[in-house]
């Protein structure tokens, strides 16, 4: 590995391209720590947003109109307001309100915690709509066929509706999760040490803004590329002839 580090040092001394994140151990550690935070934050938010999406889609099928209205209100609120404003709202307003109610000093959750909550609800709102659209795309006649074979409504949901709905959902879900990865950069604003925040610290210390900007592009292109590859493989593996394509 030392050869690689030395090469970057040479690149700096000969050509003035200053990528300290490769040869300065302190910068390297905090930078890769930042990438790890981005990955971690993305994965946790993806998982939670999918859970929220499924729960919301299920609640939207409720026969009680006020339950459906609450879900609809949640979707409208999180879909129609900027994610940065939502993050500030949670981090500053909700946190201090909770702190005064509970008496916990120094905030109820860390900035990372509020980023997880805020971004999960943000992406979750879109997921509710995506899953609902998927469920509604399953032909009623398919459900009737299962009914007439004696399936209970829960069995119909598990064995017919869900398997068909998620095949329809995947492309839209894919898009939303890509968006989520990109939106994790707003956590910068409340000092979550993710990729952009750390990069900013490094270019402030080392005066290497152009180099670090390019590195940040590269990091997000690679992270999103990995997700896209995984999702496409998944889409391909569950494709069945004559359905949804």
């Amino acid at each position: 590995m030392d050869v690689v580090w030395e090469w970057f040092q040479w690149l700096n001394s000969e050509h003035g391209i200053k990528l300290t994140i490769f040869y300065d151990e302190w910068d390297r550690n905090r930078f890769f720590g930042g990438i790890w935070t981005t990955i971690h934050l993305s994965l946790v938010c993806m998982a939670l947003s999918i859970v929220i999406g499924m729960g919301g889609a299920w609640l939207q099928m409720s026969k009680f109109i006020w339950i459906r209205r609450i879900v609809q209100g949640y979707i409208q609120f999180f879909r129609n307001t900027p994610p940065l404003v939502q993050l500030y709202f949670f981090y500053f307003a909700v946190d201090s309100a909770l702190a005064s109610v509970t008496g916990i000093e120094g905030g109820v959750f860390s900035s990372y915690g509020w980023a997880v909550i805020s971004l999960s609800f943000f992406a979750g709102a879109f997921n509710v709509e995506i899953f609902r659209a998927g469920i509604e795309s399953v032909p009623k006649s398919m459900v009737e066929a299962a009914d007439s074979l004696g399936f209970t409504s829960f069995q119909v949901f598990c064995y017919v509706t869900m398997p068909l709905a998620y095949r329809v959902c995947l492309p839209a879900l894919n898009n939303n999760l890509i968006n989520l990865i990109k939106t994790t950069t707003v956590a910068y604003a409340i000092a979550v040490p993710e990729t952009l925040y750390i990069s900013n610290q490094i270019w402030s210390d080392e005066y290497n803004v152009p180099e670090m900007m390019n590195v940040v592009w590269g990091v997000y292109i690679i992270l999103v590329g990995i997700l896209v590859t995984i999702m496409h493989r998944w889409e391909k593996s569950i494709r069945v002839p004559g359905f949804g394509n």
């Binding site: 007439s148 004696g150 069945v240």
Partner: protein, 252 residues
């Protein structure tokens, strides 16, 4: 649950009495009476919108009825306490659009209900499914998805899927209406085979030649009522009602 009632083979296996059904303002069935004995083959014919499909959908409770009574093997279908599973074990249904599960292979489509609904052991279910595939003449297509099969093949899988539940009565809702002409025959042959082996069948159909050949009794419906009925030998030649005569003259 009040489902098991005493029923004996000398009583109709399906008994429809004075059934009324409306969708909102629209009255679709206006006092229908039909009795079907075990092993009988009944064809219901009539112009579009005459309530034929609604009627057979009521028999396995896909539609509820407003008044009257439908009994299958003594079970009252119009009873809110009815255990629908018990009903649907007795009544199989085949649809116009096949409605196979597109994410399952032909064999899996047939195996699904016995596995999940009846919780039968997989080995037994698979053996039975393979026999059914053979019965509907689809050997070699076991692992094809519905999207890879022709309409006629899909419809035969759908028939096999219903038979896998060992029903006493089979309902066929215009099962050849969506098929290419050249595949209609293979589906009719599969139904004929069933009928000849003693399955009780209720068919809604536009295939008059077929109805004439296999039906024990033909019912002609128009605007929600049974206009005329009789055995095929007399029905087609001695229709009395002008509406029946007009319908037959258009179709034959």
């Amino acid at each position: 649950m009040s489902t098991k009632t005493d029923w004996s083979a000398d009583q109709p296996i399906v008994s429809i009495k004075d059934v009324y059904k409306s969708f909102g303002e629209l009255e679709v069935l206006k006092g229908i009476n039909i009795d079907v004995m075990k092993g009988e083959v009944i064809c219901i014919i009539g112009p579009s919108g005459s309530g034929k499909s609604t009627l057979i959908r009521c028999i396995n409770a896909l539609n509820d009825i407003n008044s009257g009574s439908i009994k299958v093997k003594g079970m009252e279908v119009n009873d809110s306490e009815l255990d629908k599973l018990e009903l649907r074990k007795e009544v199989g249904m085949v649809f116009q659009q096949y409605n196979l599960f597109p994410h399952k292979t032909a064999l899996e489509n047939i195996m699904m209900a016995p596995l999940k609904v009846l919780n039968q052991p997989i080995k037994e279910v698979e053996e039975k499914a393979r026999q059914l595939i053979e019965r509907v003449n689809l050997v070699g297509k076991e692992s094809s998805y519905p999207g890879e099969l022709s309409g006629g093949q899909q419809q035969r899988v759908a028939i096999a899927r219903s038979l896998a539940m060992n029903p006493e009565v089979m309902l066929f809702d215009e099962v050849t209406a969506a098929l290419d002409p050249e595949t209609v025959n293979e589906v009719l042959l599969a139904i004929k085979d069933l009928a000849q082996k003693g399955m009780t069948c209720i068919l809604v159909t536009h295939e008059m030649g077929f109805a004439r050949e296999i039906a024990d009794h033909i019912y002609f419906t128009d605007r929600g009522v049974i206009v005329e009925h009789g055995p095929p030998a007399t029905f087609f030649t001695e229709a009395k009602d002008p509406r029946t005569q007009e319908f037959l003259s258009q179709i034959l």
